[in-house]
Symmetry: C2
Subunit: 231 residues, 2 copies
Amino acid sequence: MATYAVFGTGTVGQALAGRLSSNGHKVIVGTRNVADTLARKDNDMYGNPPFAIWQKDHPDVQLGTFKKAASLSEVIVNCTMGHGSLDALQSAGESELNGKILIDIANPLDFSQGFPPSLLVCNTDSLGEQIQTAFPVLKVVKTLNTMNAWLMVNPALVPGNHTVFMSGNDKAAKETVKGILNRFGWEDRNILDLGDITTARGTEMLLPVWVRLFGALKTPMFNFHINIAGR
Amino acid sequence: MATYAVFGTGTVGQALAGRLSSNGHKVIVGTRNVADTLARKDNDMYGNPPFAIWQKDHPDVQLGTFKKAASLSEVIVNCTMGHGSLDALQSAGESELNGKILIDIANPLDFSQGFPPSLLVCNTDSLGEQIQTAFPVLKVVKTLNTMNAWLMVNPALVPGNHTVFMSGNDKAAKETVKGILNRFGWEDRNILDLGDITTARGTEMLLPVWVRLFGALKTPMFNFHINIAGR
């Protein structure tokens, strides 16, 4: 079983680390500063617990620096806030990233003007592309970034068929990620490969309608389904 | 029965004008220059016929200037290319727009770098908002802009439930537009009101993923469905 580094200690990191661990993988969560992360006492803006509280229920999941987590892993999952993703990868160091798959779940959300957020990068570029360009040694696969964190690792929370998108330049890496998605509960017919990493522009730009749907529906438990004639 | 002005003579204008006419409405299509429009002989980039050919099968649909079309109508449907929408409305004249509903289907697509297009405006603004700001006399309702033209007026072309979004500041205008969507075949449960016109940022930003889905799926006959837990 592969060892996974999960970058980011918030809700998305917790959801991914917990699920990968319960699937039998060794998981090490990466953070900027371990002591700072463990010292946090407050719930986040959505009411989710700080990492130290969450970790009590997940004793098998380790915590380390980005560099330590990357060094021990075969696959890295980027669950940092989008504005900090490039820095987090930089601090892990290129030699620890070399040749690895990066599952990029981050969105470049800009909360500086309040809610709903806008995007820090979009339209003619995307965070997924920026990461792939800055770290050509990584095989970046953008996926899972278009839905609530708990739904990512348990698609049955929304009944029926609904879609998870995938973007990336490396076909073998996308096959590996597809297998990971399968083990989270995603059926092949609901995994939609859009093409190379530039297609991450499309999925990151779903976030502005996602946050407005969250506002209109009063629940985050929804997902996009691409309904296709004749299929 | 209300009289409709349909601004724009391309595929979207043809689809909307044809459907409104077959639903029993008087329809006048608006264009910049009537003689120029009728002189066009070539199919568009998607292989759809020029207006003069289309009109032979739709003899009840009139053609006039933007100003003439607006002056005769109670409701205006904006099917122009997004980069020309504000100019088209300007040439109709504010007095002809006063108090009317504008159903805005246009997307601010930028094809200057080829396919897939990017957006001319997005993220912290939208074409829907620009139109509402420039013409406060209009009641702008953004809708139908997230799908293929033929699907707009015949949702049964894609089986099952799928979603049409709606954004606008005027509740009564949205109720009127909902009735129009119903007569196109959209059931209430598939019409999703996102809120005021600023939510058009979300739906216009669906276009970058729409064009990439079109590329990946090799068909334009698909639509987004918002699948919600417990509903």
